[in-house]
């Protein structure tokens, strides 16, 4: 009898409950021609990955996408196993024994390094750690950031760098109206940060931030935005590139930055400075093993063979005193135990979502991937939708052709027994919805949309601490 019928559903395990995992689930569960039983695993008790733990707390509108994920989770053949970690609680071999297909959607969980001296001095952090901390990620709950420093340098001008700079500049009352973690709000209340520098390698026209984000930086209640006019002048190369590609958003971005350069400070308590055409070459020691500043080399712009405008270092060097440095030069995937990983690109090598054997470069039977761990950390949340559709299509093609794992126990009850035995405190979707309601209720008392639980123990206690039989 064929797999994919009500009697013998196609059993799929999704590892990672972020947007990529939910979009794969959506694509698989809405097909009429095949009956899919889908179990979604996450190492945390809470779903939604970076929507919960990456997207900035003052960007609630973007988090509205979770309503679409709730609809997927409401499908009768969807189950959530939160707090169950691959490699610790269950192995790939366990999944192979219970599912026809496995999809890895674990994202890019770590940051790229700058590769410069002093990067690991006290007070030099990956921006992603700060983001995870203010968003209440349980693993980063106890991180310490020295907010007694008056000047902070954020390396990078992408979305994460801008988020970090903006959160550092927000007033406590602005922050209290968000779903920022309580420990972060408390720490930021006592912040003595006065100046935040955002450091971009290339020019204004090449900055990765979008115009809405840039405008937001000019509307902060407690911080004046400052830009040096000579750093946002449009050079001939950039002008030509903007004209050739008809990039109106890019031209607008330069205009906004130039308008910031003309602004007089309004005497707000903080100052947010956007710098361009500088690359860090060293994080400097203050003499006591902590960050004292950052050495920058000034860049000029050159065009590569393909017309890309690149930063080329000059001889000019400057030192920027700073007591705290956040690097935000990109995310990077981390290997999963028992899953092939390509270290060069930081992804699970794949073809249209089919995981490739690293030696033969041929697809591995029954193993798939989607999202950032599949293609690298690019795009917005919605970019994962076409990406997930490609993977789901490959899965269904293979299933129709009979190319799938032959699990010893292709049975929903058996999988649940396995998970219960390995992790009796796992969190299912009904549990999560209760946590969600509790968090929203707690948030109301603070005057914000949500107040997160930031420790796994806290979450389990809120759910009544019952182990499953």
């Amino acid at each position: 009898m064929a797999v994919g019928t009500a009697e013998r559903p196609l059993r799929v395990a999704v590892v990672g409950a972020g947007p990529a995992g939910f979009y794969v689930a959506e694509h698989l569960l809405r097909r009429a021609e095949v009956v899919v039983d889908l179990d979604m695993f996450d190492r945390l008790p809470t779903p939604f990955g970076l929507v919960r733990l990456g997207v900035a707390p003052d960007h609630q509108k973007i988090k509205a996408v979770t309503a679409a994920f709730d609809k997927v989770a409401a499908h009768p053949r969807f189950r959530f196993f939160g707090g169950v970690e691959l490699g610790k609680d269950v192995t790939v071999a366990d999944l192979r024994a219970h599912y026809h297909q496995i999809v890895y959607t674990t994202g890019a969980q770590t940051d790229r390094r700058m590769g410069i001296p002093g990067e690991d001095l006290l007070g030099s952090h990956p921006a992603t750690e700060f983001v995870a901390w203010y968003n209440g990620h349980p693993d980063y709950r106890d991180c310490q950031f020295d907010l007694s420093q008056e000047r902070v340098a954020v390396v990078g001008v992408g979305n994460v760098a801008v988020d970090v700079a903006r959160i550092l500049c927000r007033t406590p009352s602005e922050l209290a109206a968000t779903d920022i973690a309580e420990h972060a709000l408390e720490a930021l209340r006592g912040s003595r940060v006065r100046e935040v520098y955002l450091l971009g390698r290339r020019g204004a026209a090449q900055a990765a931030f979008t115009n809405p984000e840039l405008k937001e930086l000019g509307e902060l209640e407690g911080a004046d935005v400052a830009v040096a006019a000579h750093e946002v002048e449009l050079d001939a190369l950039s002008r030509e590139a903007l004209e050739k590609t008809g990039d109106r958003a890019g031209a607008k971005k330069v205009e906004i930055l130039q308008s910031y350069a003309r602004r007089a400070p309004e005497g707000k308590p903080r100052r947010l400075v956007l710098r361009f055409l500088v690359s860090p070459v060293a994080v400097l020691d203050n003499g006591a093993g902590a960050v004292g500043g950052i050495r920058l080399v000034r860049n000029r712009l050159v065009a590569s063979a393909t017309g890309t405008i690149q930063a080329q270092p000059t001889e000019q060097v400057e030192e920027l005193p700073a007591g705290l440095v956040f690097r935000s030069v990109g995310y990077r995937g981390v290997p999963l135990p028992g899953v092939p990983f390509d270290d060069k690109w930081g992804v699970v090598l794949n073809e249209k979502g089919r995981v490739l054997d690293p030696n033969t470069k041929q697809p591995l039977l029954g193993e798939y991937t989607a999202g950032w761990i599949k293609r690298g950390p690019t795009g917005v949340i919605g970019t994962n939708k076409p990406d997930a559709a490609e993977t789901a299509t490959a899965m269904l093609e293979d299933a129709a052709a009979g190319q799938m794992l032959a699990p010893a126990e292709p049975d929903a009850a058996a999988a649940e027994r396995l998970v219960t035995q390995r992790q009796p405190h796992y969190v299912d979707y009904a549990d999560w919805l209760r946590l969600n309601d509790l968090e929203i209720a707690r948030g109301r008392s603070r005057g914000g949309p949500r107040l997160k639980f930031t420790r796994v123990d806290e979450m389990l206690a809120a759910l009544g601490n019952r182990a499953r039989p």
Partner: protein
């Protein structure tokens, strides 16, 4: 988005040929992998040319005896090389303008991959579609 984004999903699978191989051999490789172009490399994997199906078609239209010719006789030597950090917007623009269908990508002179104009178009389309989806979701979920 840059070239590295594309290579991350295609990997370092790039089919190469040597300049001293015959066109017959090269066509066999093109057919075997169902692709449109081969990167011609020297002994240390440095790209020295590209042989595309168009190069062969152009030669065959004038000369029926193309098979025994050498790759070095038909390959394009005027190479545009990409870097993994190159922006896809600029890359697409350059490829269209210069009518390049395949762009070898090098790091420190060594071949690390190849991107086709199709790869660039797909990556950009996925990006735009993703942005539209995100905006639609935000608008729709706010409305409900």
């Amino acid at each position: 988005m840059n070239i590295a984004t594309i290579l991350a999903t295609k990997g370092d699978k790039v089919v190469t040929v040597r300049a001293d191989q015959t066109i017959r051999e090269a066509l066999g490789v093109l057919a075997q992998h169902n692709i449109g172009a081969l990167v011609v490399v020297d002994g240390s994997m440095r790209p020295i040319g590209v042989l595309s199906e168009r190069d062969v078609v152009r030669a065959a239209a004038k000369n029926e005896a193309v098979f025994p010719l050498l790759v070095s006789q038909l390959m394009t030597r005027d190479l545009v090389l990409g870097d993994p950090g190159d922006d896809l917007g600029a890359v697409g623009q350059t490829m269209v303008q210069r009518r390049i269908r395949h762009l070898p990508v090098v790091v420190a002179g060594k071949l690390v991959g190849i991107v086709s104009i199709g790869d660039v178009v797909k990556a950009q389309r996925d990006q735009y579609q993703g942005e539209v989806d995100t905006l639609q979701t935000i608008v729709m979920e706010r409305g409900t």
